[in-house]
Symmetry: C2
Subunit: 336 residues, 2 copies
């Protein structure tokens, strides 16, 4: 199995990307990494590390689609960008299972949707991060930003894809909640009110009803279904609050004199564990579900550790056969 990696995507590219890929290759023997980027620079970086030489390939792709340019134009015009070349490789070479990038979200999503083949029955691919829950579990949020405007049918497909994803995480019959502005059955905007009965009637889903934003990390459901706009708002509100709390705790410790500083030193291991629990980016990226190949979008600020996690996540998703699982779930759906 080959995994394509965008060597020039992200704030710390290419150094941290390449370091992360080398670590992934050395940690897991089951795949070949193919780095897409300016070949000379990539090879110079690679020369700093020890790894099995046949396990990392390089494809020259000197162009980069930046965060500040139109993703659609970038994908159309920059034929030699890492994203365009990698997606072409995924489409034409069956050996490729996945693509990992920490580059521009817009370019990765647009490129994937325009260039990669969709799974039959899926109208819209969706972006799904996995978040930590308070009880030590995990929850899949789908969609977190690929589709700002959705139809009820899209949300039902998101639920089925989210279920397939949760299955690969070892959750055999995931509880599925619809993100709403209240837990009562009749709560929601028009989209939610139309989606609710469709999810309820879907015999393949363990739909438990509406959930609120405060329930996302609460562990009561395994998959949260929502449109990409609300999902993005929810995800980033969670992120922002976690960052704010760390900052407010820091301010109060720094302003709390010697007593607080000693307290902080004693609690440092606990704080490190909390940061580790809350920082879902260290556990991989958001996965674009619904295409014939896996696309993992790492956070733009990803360092080597996150890239390693994302590459191993892509590998595990391919091994678990998530594309076939989603395709199977859609066949079941159309047969009902």
């Amino acid at each position: 199995m080959k995994i394509a990696i965008d060597a020039f995507g992200g704030d710390h590219a290419p150094t941290e990307i390449i370091k992360g890929v080398v670590d992934a290759v050395n940690a897991e023997p089951g795949f070949t990494a193919v780095l897409f980027g300016a070949e000379e620079t990539v090879r110079a970086e690679l020369s700093r590390y020890a790894y099995p030489a046949d396990r990392i390939e390089v494809v020259d792709a000197p162009e980069v689609i930046g965060n500040d340019e139109s993703p659609t134009e970038g994908v159309r015009k920059k034929k030699n960008s890492s994203i365009v070349k990698a997606f072409h490789a995924l489409n034409t070479d069956d050996a490729y299972g996945a693509f990992v990038s920490a580059g521009s979200t817009g370019a990765v999503l647009t490129g994937a949707v325009l260039l990669l083949k969709r799974i039959r029955g899926i109208n819209r691919p969706a972006l799904a991060p996995v978040l930590p829950t308070v009880n030590g579990g995990q929850v899949v949020l789908v969609d977190c930003g690929a589709n700002a405007d959705c139809k009820p049918l899209n949300l039902v497909q998101f639920a089925r894809m989210g279920k397939a994803y949760a299955n690969t995480l070892g959750i055999s019959d995931p509880k599925i909640g619809l993100l709403s502005n209240g837990t009562e059955d009749k709560k929601g905007n028009e989209l939610n009110k139309e989606t609710f009965p469709l999810l309820k009637e879907d015999a393949s889903l363990n739909f438990v009803g509406n959930i609120e934003g405060r329930d996302i990390l609460g562990g009561a459901v395994d998959v949260v279904v929502t449109d990409g706009f609300s999902g993005n708002v929810a995800l980033k509100s969670c992120e922002g609050t976690a960052l704010t709390m760390f900052e407010v705790i820091k301010q109060n410790i720094l302003g709390g004199g010697l007593r607080a500083k000693i307290g902080y030193l004693l609690l440092k291991p606990a704080f490190r564990r909390v940061k580790n629990v809350m920082d879902y980016n260290n556990k991989g990226g958001a996965v674009l579900l619904g295409l014939q190949k896996i696309v993992v979008k790492s956070h733009g600020s990803s360092k080597a550790k996150s890239i390693t996690a994302s590459v191993l996540q892509a590998y595990n998703l391919c091994r678990a056969g998530i594309v076939d699982a989603i395709a199977g779930a859609m066949v079941t759906a159309s047969e009902e």
Copy 2:
């Protein structure tokens, strides 16, 4: 000035509500509190406290609209409920400036929208909480749940109302951000894309552009404008994450042995300050803006301290003339 209070709304009613009202009356001499609820019970509770006798009145309203019944039916059928009787008093007696309730959000919102007069030019009232920011400031979130489906015009009105609210908090020219799924100008769902140019063209607003969920508590803007569905998702995602973090910190301290426990004891004052900063419910309730009288919705779990804060908040908003300020902002809008 009279302030009407729902004596039987909320998880800790009537005991904590009445205690909170007595504390507010004793703290601020400028208003009379009128408690709406089962008179005998209310008077029995009141007899436990010392306060100026002429500053608290009781209106018998024996019915309660519960969280589990249809708000519309409850408001229509329960003419003797505290909510219906209080709104009737607000509509007919000019002495009343505000209503405070910790009861069913649905019943309070539905009752207010159905029964209270709107400010001329406002199509939809909106619910606005004030949240703490990381730099010690405050941010108004409007709408957080009164309108699940909105039109661009509604959001422009929310921005004007949010500005008037921020003015009463001492922010003279509030920065206004539109909640979106990215910070770029072209980001957003259909609603946002149509709203963006309207906010930009509005000369009365200091519109700074799109913001993400992670910016809500970041302090870069003073007013966050959004539809009630996304606003509710954002608010509750922030709440849920704060609760989750406190819980994860607690678990890690309890599991961290003696060292962590001593650290915790030393950091206790700092944690208390953090909780105090993050718990916006202790600083009052969400305000329903756009009606001819102020409605403050306290959290259902409000104890006396939150009720006191909500009553004083209602008093301050009346004194600051927020209803006239919103009416003025709408006149300016229609004159442009």
